[in-house]
Every structure is written in structure tokens, then in C-alpha cells.
């Protein structure tokens, strides 16, 4: 019965062909180092899911951000767990993106025809760091407030355009409700959507070119 239903669906949707084309690819020399990208993707999924759950209670306004997070931690069942996962998986995600990049570097996998995959990867790294930067402000506690003060101050060191960049990031001269709200918008919409789109292109290129061979002694 189940296989009949599956066949009916497959005839119309073409699961099997999709599976063969996308996932059932040969791995030239599978090593655990080649799983770092997938591990990062997994963490991104975790971040999206736990992030959506945090949004059920989190409130992006200076009056309520801090209290709403206290409530998540102490008031709601399993709030500490959801936030804890979001927090630790964010940290791990940044770490994994770096390791993934290092492995691609050391196996020289960025060479022709994979230069674009690498360039997209650089954007993925920057966007992920952006997620960390914007997320850090959201609890609106002392640490996040000053971390953002410092980060936006550093951005101001860019020659000529610096002060304008700082004001753009802060939404004015000071950290304020405007800063919190634009960081929030970037953290839950702009950057995740950018990340998702970039991941899509990254994966398309990986499927198109297949996994690279590792260099041999002679190379």
C-alpha cells in the first residue's frame, strides 16, 4: 500500500530522479573533512527553527527586550533549552564555517572550475558573522550594548565614509531603539534570507561540479 502511494506520487513528482541527481553522487575520497559544509547547513536549519521559537516571546524594543529574554529563561517551559540551543549552535556555526573554509583551502578545492563556489563561500562567511553581530545586540543587556557600541565604532574607522557607516548601522549618532530594531530586522529577515539564497547557489555549484579530488603527492 505504502509503496503504491509512493509510486503514484513518484510518477508525478519524480522523487527518485531528484534523489539520484542531487544526493546519490559519488564521493571521490570521502573523509570526515568533507562533511563540514553539511554540518554548517544543519546548524543553519537549527538556527532558523530555534530562532522562530524565540520569536514567540522575544520583543525587539528597549523597554521589553531584556525582560522578554528573562522571561524566556525563567518563565517559559524549556525556554532555557531553546535559547541555549540557539546560542551554542550560533557559536558552533561560526566555528564550522571557518573550519570548512580551511579544509577547502588546504585541499586546494577553490581552483578551476570552483572559484565561484569559493567566492560565494566568502559571502556566506561574512553573512554568518553578520548574523552573530546582529544577534548579539538583541538581549539588550550591558554586554550586548557595549559590544555593539564597539563594533559600530570600529566600522567608523573606515577612511572618509566611516562616520556615515556608523550612523547607518546605529540609525543615528547613538545606540537607541532604532539600532535595536534595525539589528532585529537584519537578524531575522535580511541576513537569513541572504544566507538561504547564497546557500542555494553554493549547493547548486557543488552539485554541478561534484566533489573535488584531493591533491596527490605529485601536485
Amino acid at each position: 500500500m505504502a509503496s503504491k502511494i509512493y509510486q503514484w506520487l513518484d510518477e508525478r513528482l519524480g522523487f527518485d530522479d531528484l534523489y539520484k541527481g542531487l544526493l546519490d553522487r559519488p564521493e571521490p575520497r570521502g573523509t570526515w573533512w568533507n562533511t563540514l559544509g553539511s554540518a554548517t547547513l544543519f546548524l543553519f536549519t537549527i538556527q532558523v527553527l530555534t530562532g522562530i521559537f524565540l520569536l514567540v516571546y522575544y520583543t525587539p524594543s528597549p523597554d521589553h527586550a531584556y525582560d522578554s529574554i528573562q522571561y524566556i529563561m525563567n518563565g517559559v517551559a524549556f525556554g532555557w533549552l531553546i535559547r541555549g540551543i540557539h546560542h551554542w549552535s550560533a557559536t558552533l556555526m561560526v566555528l564550522l564555517v571557518f573550519l570548512h573554509m580551511l579544509r577547502v583551502f588546504f585541499t586546494a578545492s577553490y581552483k578551476f572550475p570552483r572559484e565561484l563556489t569559493w567566492m560565494i563561500g566568502v559571502l556566506l562567511l561574512l553573512t554568518t558573522l553578520g548574523m552573530g553581530l546582529t544577534g548579539y545586540l538583541l538581549p539588550w543587556n550591558q554586554r550586548s550594548y557595549f559590544a555593539t557600541t564597539v563594533a559600530t565604532e570600529i566600522a567608523g574607522l573606515v577612511p572618509w565614509a566611516g562616520p556615515f557607516i556608523t550612523r547607518t548601522m546605529r540609525g543615528g549618532n547613538d545606540l537607541s531603539a532604532l539600532t535595536l530594531s534595525r539589528f532585529f530586522a537584519a537578524h531575522v529577515w535580511l541576513l537569513p534570507l541572504t544566507l538561504a539564497a547564497l546557500i542555494g547557489v553554493h549547493l547548486y555549484l557543488i552539485i554541478r561540479h561534484g566533489e573535488s579530488e584531493y591533491p596527490t603527492e605529485e601536485d
Binding site: 514567540v56 521589553h64 522578554s68 518563565g75 517559559v76 517551559a77 524549556f78 533549552l81 531553546i82
Partner: protein
């Protein structure tokens, strides 16, 4: 390899992956469900009751519904919520009163007393009640609710039940 009742390496990996995936999935899904339902679960059946003092009975004229409002505060999440509740005191004689809730029995809007018509009228879907709270017309399915009350030393109290 591959004897009929022996598990192949490939199947073993599939089974382990499936079991581990299910355990991890459930370990995340169940807390997540609890997390979302938490306020609904905690706010249910608190069953708190309070006697609200409405002041001396003489204050209320005989035969005319008189409105009385009181405010309750409750902590919802990280916020104090103020909710205003209203009722009508209809004094029938020196010792007998009827205390009607102003919450429409249709879908919860607040009814107002229209002295000229001698009716309670609900602004939402034109529910109309008479002086004693009985439905005259409109969608409300039952009369306005009565508050339990007591009179002590000539002072009126009503019993307010939370939730």
C-alpha cells in the same frame, strides 16, 4: 555477508540513523511544544476568587441599574496587564440586589445601559437585554451573568472569579 537473517552493514547504518534521528527529533519537538503552550497551560484554572467591595448599599438607587467599574492587574509574561471589569447593580429593595456582569453572552463585548429605552444594548451585534438581563433580541444565547454577592454591615460585595 548478506545472509537472510543477518543485518547488513548498510541496513545497520540505516537503522541506527533512523533511531538516533527519531530520538533527537522527539527530544527537540516535545520541549518545543511545551514552550509554545506554556502560557496557555499556566493561565488555565487558576480559579482565584476575590470579594470586591462596592461600597454602601444606599449608594445604589432602587429600580435603576447603576454601573460600577473595577480594575484588576495580572502579570502576563514580563508585563503587568490592567483589565477593567464592569458590572451593573440593580437594587430591588432595601436588602435585595441583582448584580449583572456587563460582558455580553454572545461574544464578549461590553453592554451599555440605555436609560431612555430601559435596555442593555450590546454595540457589537445589537444584542438587547432587559433590566434583569434577559435577552430581548439579537444573537446572545443566554441572559447576562449574575455575580454572587453578599451584604455586610450595609456594604455590598461581589465575588469575582478569575478566568
Amino acid at each position: 555477508m548478506g545472509k537472510s537473517h543477518e543485518v547488513s552493514r548498510r541496513d545497520f547504518v540505516k537503522i541506527v540513523t533512523g533511531v538516533a534521528g527519531t530520538v533527537i527529533g522527539a527530544g527537540i519537538t516535545l520541549p518545543a511544544v511545551g514552550y509554545v503552550l506554556d502560557p496557555a497551560i499556566k493561565s488555565g484554572g487558576s480559579g482565584k476568587e476575590n470579594w470586591i467591595a462596592l461600597g454602601p448599599l444606599e449608594k445604589y438607587p432602587i429600580g435603576e441599574p447603576t454601573p460600577f467599574n473595577f480594575t484588576r492587574t495580572e502579570i502576563n509574561g514580563w508585563e503587568k496587564t490592567f483589565s477593567t471589569n464592569g458590572l451593573f447593580v440593580l437594587r430591588k429593595s432595601d436588602t435585595e440586589v441583582e448584580v449583572l456582569s456587563n460582558v455580553c453572552t454572545h461574544l464578549g463585548c461590553r453592554v451599555a445601559w440605555h436609560e431612555d429605552k430601559g435596555e442593555f444594548i450590546c454595540p457589537c451585534h445589537d444584542g438587547v437585554f432587559d433590566k434583569d438581563g434577559n435577552v430581548i433580541s439579537g444573537p446572545p444565547p443566554r441572559p447576562l451573568d449574575n455575580y454572587e454577592y453578599k451584604i455586610e454591615d450595609g456594604n455590598l460585595f461581589v465575588l469575582f472569579k478569575e478566568g
